[in-house]
């Protein structure tokens, strides 16, 4: 879980164009500056490409924060092993 969070850091920094951005499990659209709908789409695309996973729209709509995203990613990465 910690490893995924570490791998997500440069993705978030790139998408939000903030080199010093540090996300945590509690980070969300309400706490990260610039996390609007288009940034969210770009973020999901970047994560799907980096981790070779795919999200369903329903899964994405249910996510409240980065922690829930990481939990779902763990499941998907585990299934692809």
């Amino acid at each position: 879980m910690t490893e995924i969070l570490a791998q997500l850091q440069p993705i978030f920094q790139d998408i939000f164009d903030q080199g010093d951005l540090e996300i945590s499990r509690g980070s969300s659209a309400e706490t990260v500056d610039g996390w609007d709908s288009l940034a969210h789409i770009n973020l999901v695309s970047a994560i799907e490409q980096e981790f070779s996973i795919r999200f369903a729209l329903g899964e994405l709509e249910a996510m409240k924060d980065v922690g829930e995203m990481i939990d779902l990613m763990e499941l998907k990465i585990g299934k692809s092993d």
Partner: protein, 138 residues
């Protein structure tokens, strides 16, 4: 104009078209943008900078990326999300360009397609490359 829907798109789908840069295009771009940098409007000045003629605006050539996605791939259902362009070689009035693009990624959940695109001049020399993100409306 093409009219690809989301279900019609697949990885590797390609399109290309040709265009030629004209003096009229340069004048229109100058009028629209107000960019009167002498490199683009003064051939004599451009020669002092080592170019054989005035250099075509990079964003004029990049405007063909708009045509690529808005008219060809996917066409009518396109909503441009973002574009990352690199300019590799200078372009001059009269150059015949080929603009091409290929779908490299599809985000199913949000219907976002990524397109790897390039513009080539003359004998296939790449003058520009772009990574384009588009939403597909239907």
């Amino acid at each position: 104009m093409n009219n690809y829907g989301w279900q019609d798109l697949e990885l590797g789908l390609k399109h290309e078209f040709q265009a030629e840069i004209t003096e009229k295009m340069m004048q229109n771009f100058l009028q629209n943008s107000g960019d009167n940098n002498p490199l683009h409007v003064d051939a004599a000045y451009a020669e002092t900078r080592g170019f054989p003629n005035k250099v075509v605006y990079g964003l004029l050539t990049a405007s063909f990326y708009s045509t690529l996605v808005g008219v060809h791939l996917p066409g009518q259902n396109c909503l441009l999300h973002g574009i990352d362009v690199s300019f590799l070689k200078p372009v001059f009035v009269g150059d015949a360009l080929t603009i091409s693009g290929e779908i490299t990624f599809l985000n199913e959940a949000y219907r976002q397609a990524h397109i790897s695109a390039q513009i080539t001049s003359g004998q296939g020399v790449s003058v520009s490359k772009a990574r384009i993100k588009v939403g597909v409306l239907e």
